[in-house]
């Protein structure tokens, strides 16, 4: 059975801290991995990763994929209260199959 695990499930930090969120997976035939940010509204797309070792970056957020060890990390540097959200990881498990979502990591950034 295809499976996506995220850790930690919940995290509380203070503004200015750097955080690393983890997503590991066990799927039939990995195709791609997505990261989303979900505040009190629609999840919004952050990154799509398909190749190992290539960092994707957007401002203070970055992400990288390791297809050998079957995981991805999402880094947020100099966190701000606006980074407080649930971060979702989703994996495309095989060609033509729907994405499998992890449980999400709830990040709270305190002032």
């Amino acid at each position: 059975e295809d499976k996506v695990v995220q850790s930690p499930l919940s995290l509380v930090v203070h503004e200015g801290d750097t955080v690393t969120l983890n997503c590991s997976y066990e799927v039939t035939n990995f195709r791609s991995l997505l990261w989303y940010k979900q505040e009190k509204k629609a999840p919004t797309f952050l990154f799509m990763l398909t190749s190992s070792g290539i960092e994707k970056k957007s401002g203070r957020l970055s992400s990288i994929l390791d297809k050998k060890e079957l995981f991805s990390i999402l880094n947020i540097t100099a966190t701000q209260t606006g980074d407080s959200a649930i971060y979702l990881c989703a994996v495309e498990p095989n060609y033509g199959q729907n994405f499998v979502f992890g449980p999400g990591t709830r990040l709270s950034v305190l002032p």
Binding site: V4, L9, L34, Y36, F45, E92, G96, N98, F99, P103
Partner: protein
């Protein structure tokens, strides 16, 4: 700039009621999806549709049905609501059949409480 709209943000319904959750997208996407989101379980796929009048069961279709009469509209129906269907429901659409390449565009969600 709204792209996927869910008709209700919050709903409270009684056990046994028939419940309709509506979703409309304005991106001309053929592919639409209904998920439910529960703490610790993530997003689970209920139903999806690749085209008008087409529907496919997802991972947890029991107790639900869907309707896709027009390309832009995908409705989720709870035939007889039960308390274990209390959840956040998210609608999504995608340019590609599974969300590959471009990901999903999500609606803001409907938080349904069944009492």
């Amino acid at each position: 700039d709204v792209k996927v709209t869910q008709s209700s943000r919050y709903l409270v319904k009684r056990t046994g009621e028939k419940v309709f959750l509506e979703c409309v997208q304005d991106m001309d996407h053929e592919n639409m999806f209904w998920y439910r989101q529960d703490p610790g379980l993530g997003l689970r796929l209920i139903y999806f549709s690749y085209d008008v009048k087409m529907k496919e069961k997802g991972d947890i279709p029991e107790g639900y049905s869907v309707s896709r009469e027009k390309k832009e509209r995908f409705s989720l129906i709870l035939e007889s609501a039960s308390t274990n269907q209390t959840s956040m429901y998210l609608c999504a659409s995608s340019l590609t059949r599974t969300g590959a390449l471009y990901g999903y565009t999500f609606g803001s969600g409907t938080r349904l409480t069944v009492v």
